[in-house]
Amino acid sequence: MLKLALRNILSKPFRAAATVLAVAVSVAMIFAMLSFGGAVYEYIYSTETCVSGNSDIVIATNSSSDRITQVTEPLKNASGVEFVCPSLTLYALLDGEYVQIRGFDKGESQLLQKFDILRGDADELDVNSDNIVISADAAERFGLDVGARIELKLDRQTAYFYVCAVADKSGYFLGDAPFLFVGRIEGISHLLANVTTRRICNEIYVKAADGTDIDGLVKAISEMDAYSSMLVRRSGDGGYIKEQANSLSAPVVLAGAAVFMLGIAVIVLLFMMSEKEKISLISKYAVIGATRKQIAAIFIAESATLALLGSLIGCGLAVGVFVGILKATLSPSIAFGISAWRLIVAALVGFISAVGSSLLPILRSFRGTIRQNQIDAGKRTRVLKILFPIFAALTVISVIVEFTVSSATAAMSVVSLALTFATLGTGLPCALKASAKPVGKVASPAVRTACVNIVRDGRFARFAAILGVGMTVAMLLFMAWSMTTGIFTDYLADFENMVFVTNVQSTVDTSDFETVNGVEFATKIVWKQGELANGDFNKTMNILGSKNALNLVDFEFITPKEEVLPSLSEDKPYIFVDIALKELYGVDKGDTLVLTIDGKSRELTVGGLLKHRLFSGNYIVMSEKVIRDSFAVGADTVAVTVHGDVAGAVSALREKFADKNYYVVDVLTAYKWDMQSTNAVFDLIGTLAVVVTLFIFAVTVAATLIGRGSARRQRNALLNAGMSKRALLRSEIFEHSLIAALSFVISFAASALLTACLIHALRLFGLYFEFMYEAWVAAVVGLAMGGAYALMPVALNYKKGYTIKKA
């Protein structure tokens, strides 16, 4: 039996190879989509915890506390503390550019994170207090290498450091923006004041012993005299990291579901591509006396062999390509875990779909005679004709409900997404045949032949379904990329004229800033994160704590401006939130929400609704005084708006306050640093979109070639009948072109609807956005795929395979 199965496989090696490849690629696609969210979480987690490493608790100074602290005996001896690691981080200027310099006490530099050293010796950190480790990126940026001497300036203090090692972008250096230099507290303290000392720090990292109640320890530390005015919190805020990862990966995860389904569909269609041949072969086996069991065993063995091979190669491809992409786009140094269960699921889905779909022709052929089966094939076309209008009607209904019933929008959007793809899958074959009929009436024999083939031969319907659905999925992936990038970066344009001055004490006088040339307006602001909750949700929000916040960013007023502005300027205890909260959770003016800042929770009333794409709507506007009164948190930033030359104003501010040790940076630069990890995720999504599109195209090509392989006799017959090779090639080009054109037109149209559904579906992830659609992105993707598909006959030199043989 196995021999026969292997003979069948080897008799058509090209088809077998193409089938294996298609299964492998589908498995890889499925794995990539299943693993995407996890990888993004892992990356965000690594970047968010790069500073705190393996610690559990961080004690940090803030604008209302002293700027320095030290490890006290009560902390060291506190119950449940495994180790305590003080760290001093300062911002200094190197060649006029801000760098972070972070110091540890002797022997403690790798207590929280390990260095991944490329050159030099990190142990030199313990030899001399002026040695530092820098990242490879910093080395390149400043033209430094091991042994180099650098001069750092902070206010009137200057200190010299020596590069003892260059490290890879991992550990502490994952957050290498602005560039991070790691050294010793003793050396760095000289930049702090005119003293050189160990132990002084502005952050203390605490590692709790196994089994310790972390929250209890946080509370105990907060109550210690030395740290009562400081921020004591868990090192890695799991909730925030999860939210961040979810919001970044949500569009792709949704589009990934389509990729998942497409992968299964491709495998099914692929195995059904040679249905006719299989039925014919089954007839032959039946004629020579093979039992049904034997026939089934032969075909199951054949398809299982191909599926197993495809799944195994797919697993290898998945791990290699996916991890390769992660390393290339996110970080080469993070050891991304490969989830065994996801790999098994992907492989099983590929294997079961392949074997399952290969059983269909067998079951069908067992039902009746060959003649009856031929008749059934015709019925299948009719089935599509019946299914298409049903799916289309359901899609219309679903979309109408989605767009009209706001409470059902999110849930129905997923149904709409699925139904739209089903409509596309069933409608494209019908549309192809429908369009081929009138076109076939033209005079050109090549076109007429092509159109006749399209109408008669079921494989073209499958090509159209695969290409059309694949093209739509690819468009959706690119839209997800464009959307994610837009969501997280578009609002930055509003900040191009703004400068942040941080490291200020809460008592700073902002009028001094307005005397600087180029400065238009300056206001104190609390710019930090807090948790906002009611019974339905709990979200990490960015707080803009300033009565002048509405002058800084151009908000749209949902609640009338006349109501919002006085409340804010009069320091009334209100918070103002984005309309997203209303759309997602029904939050409205007058509602009471619980806001938590630095571990302190207070109930506050919603004073009104605003609208802006800022932080994807995850922002709260409130008065600085309200924050100070309610949470004892003072302003830590002065936001300065500038007219004209921003760089000039930044320089002027730095010069004017040179003796104040303010940290002056334009907002776009600050966000460039802040967005570094997010940008890496954008790169990942983009690369994944490109790779999955290439995968989709590869399986489409493989399916086409497999299907075309079964029509060899038909082409020979045409050549024998006198058709020239040139005309046959033209005919095939037309077949491809028509499929490509039709797929593009329908996919392009469907992509707008699908993007709207995708945006609605994001509400399930707690994300609210207005409709955004980049038509040119979808057009470029569609045209590229369609164009490539149309040119396949020429690119793969179909003409070379035209040989006149007796059929």
Partner: protein, 589 residues
């Protein structure tokens, strides 16, 4: 015709020749490795340091003179000796752990205008060496390692360095046509080194003993050097107020809490030093310092840097035993700084000190000192303090150098007697004449104010005299300043018998000084302990005055002498003016 074999052999030979040539060329053009390049840079930097140093001393001197060029110098001998010692220092720098870039920076700094002017008058500006290396960015670790390595090299290679210098000078003297002046100068230095050789070059066993002592004392020596450099760099010993309030940096507008944190961490560093200098470590350190001083304290090492290091070693030697006590006292002082309101007061004083006259600033300093003194008294019981003083007295009884800290303290406590109760007829009037007589107080004063500082100068001047750079009258003048007569030392030799005259002071003279010192030390410790009793005595005059001063408000206006009289009258009753002066002396203000 050539056979095929010959043809093949010729071709092979040709190929081999080409390959060999290519290999040789490749080898010639081989790029140096990173380590080789680093070594080259170090050698070059060290050569620059040597040149900068020699050229700084005399502009006509170069770092790498050939013998022929040296023969043309009038001061050829001096050049060879200076260059020889400089080479030893440079070799140590070359082999040290100093980063190459730091060596380069040092070379640049020494070649700069500031560096050159410092070197030109090094003996007068030796303190500026700290400023120079600070500007270059030397860390306490660098300095402590270098001091250790330089001292080690002096013991280990000092003898061979002297031999090499003598050999070179002899070689130069043998150059045909050498001038009279260079010839004679070389002769002087050869003679000088030859005579020093017997005492300076240690025997094999001595060398072994010294190197072992050094190795054993490395850790405490490094701790002490690092701490000393660190405090000099941080400026705490120069001006704590400026260090905390005026330095700029990330703690501009420093808060009271931040000052408390800073002071705390600095005090922890002091506690670390105290922990590092436990009794066994102190014994090792004493031994090593003693060996250095005994062997090299005669200024025969004509190296400004080495002389300076020996001077620092002597300073360290004199205080090393009391460092743990000083650490405790500084820690107690730190507790005052952290106490409520004190920082605010300090901040206020820092703000107004520039606008106040000396009298008002002096009163404010006395108030601070009174508060610190009371804190120290709260930290220690009377008997503990007395025990510390007695133990320190026992340790330093037989060595005038070590006696200086306690003698200085006794003078400070007797300040009232020294400044106000001086009687032209009877001399000094000690506060406790039953414990210490006026004569002994005078000896103590001579030791601290005259013998200790001027003996160093006498040694330097004698060396200058031997190389023709000083006159006999200079020698006599300095010897008089040492006030040997006050110890009843009568030199039997005249100054014309210079070597014997000098030798007498250095041996017999110092023996007699130490005898007097031993006698005075017992009295001084008893005197200090009596003062301690008075400090603790409830209702006693000193304690009452101390409490009164500590409770004064800071003076915020410049007071005239008349206006300040009530203050000064009260201060005179306490021992504070002396202690303030002593603190000022110790901290270099």
């Amino acid at each position: 015709m050539k056979s095929a074999f010959q043809k093949i052999a010729s071709a092979l030979l040709a190929v081999l020749v080409v390959v060999a040539c290519a290999g040789a060329l490749f080898a010639c053009h081989k790029k140096p490795s990173a380590a080789e390049r680093d070594r080259q840079e170090r050698v070059q930097s060290v050569a620059t340091v040597k040149h900068a140093f020699l050229n700084g001393i005399k502009s006509e001197w170069q770092g790498s003179f050939e013998n022929g060029q040296i023969a043309a110098l009038d001061d050829a001998g001096e050049y060879v000796v200076t260059a020889g010692w400089t080479q030893l220092v440079c070799d140590t720098l070359l082999e040290s752990d100093l980063q190459t870039a730091k060596l380069k920076a040092l070379a640049t700094a020494m070649s700069s205008e500031d560096g050159q002017s410092l070197i030109k008058n090094f003996s007068a500006n030796a303190e500026l060496l700290i400023t120079l290396v600070r500007q270059v960015g030397f860390t306490p670790t660098d300095i402590s390692n270098l001091v250790y390595e330089l001292m080690y090299a002096l013991v280990d290679k000092g003898g061979s360095t002297i031999d090499a210098m003598i050999a070179r000078m002899n070689e130069i003297r043998g150059i045909a046509g050498i001038g009279v002046k260079p010839y004679s100068n070389l002769g002087i230095y050869i003679g000088n080194l030859n005579s020093a050789k017997s005492t300076y070059i240690p025997s094999a066993s001595e060398r072994e003993q010294m190197l072992t002592a050094f190795t054993n004392a490395k850790q405490p020596l490094n701790e002490l050097t690092a701490f000393a450099y660190n405090t000099s760099v941080t400026g705490i010993s120069d001006n704590m107020l400026d260090a905390l309030f005026g330095g700029g940096g990330a703690l501009e507008n420093i808060t009271d809490g931040e000052i408390a944190t800073l002071v705390d961490t600095l005090l922890l560093n002091i506690a670390d030093l105290k922990d590092a200098l436990d009794a066994p470590s102190l014994a090792k350190l004493n031994l090593a310092l003693d060996l250095i001083i005994k062997k090299f304290d005669d200024d025969t090492i004509n190296s400004a840097l080495y002389s300076q290091i020996v001077r620092y070693a002597k300073y360290a030697y004199s205080i090393v035993d009391v460092i743990p006590v000083i650490c405790d006292i500084v820690t107690a002082a730190g507790n005052v700084v952290k106490s409520d309101g004190f920082v605010a007061d300090m901040r206020e004083i820092a703000d107004i000190s520039e606008s106040l006259n000396e009298t008002s600033n002096g009163i404010n300093e006395s108030i601070i000192t009174a508060k610190i003194l009371l804190e120290v008294m709260n930290t220690y019981t009377q008997s503990e303090l007395k025990g510390i003083i007695s133990a320190a007295g026992d340790r330093s009884a037989n060595d005038f150098q070590k006696s200086v800290p306690l003698f200085a303290l006794d003078i400070a406590l007797n300040i009232k007697s020294v400044l106000y109760d001086f009687d032209e007829d009877t001399g000094l009037l000690a506060a406790h004449p039953d414990i210490i007589d006026n004569e002994s107080l005078g000896d103590i004063l001579s030791t601290v104010l005259f013998l200790n500082p001027y003996l160093e100068k006498l040694k330097q001047r004698y060396f200058d005299y031997t190389v023709g750079k000083a006159e006999l009258s200079d020698l006599l003048f300095i010897a008089n300043l040492c006030s040997f007569e006050s110890y009843d030392i009568r030199n039997p030799y005249s100054v014309q018998e210079t070597a014997l005259w000098y030798e007498y002071y250095m041996t017999e003279g110092l023996r007699k000084v130490n005898l007097v010192v031993a006698e005075c030390m017992a009295k001084a410790t008893a005197d200090i302990n009596e003062f301690i009793s008075e400090f603790y005595e409830d209702g006693g005059e000193i304690r009452n005055s101390l409490l009164t001063v500590a409770n004064w408000q800071f003076v915020k206006v410049s007071l005239s002498e008349q206006e300040a009289k009530p203050y000064t009258d009260e201060l005179i009753k306490s021992a504070l003016p002396g202690i303030v002066a002593l603190l000022g002396f110790v901290t270099g203000e």
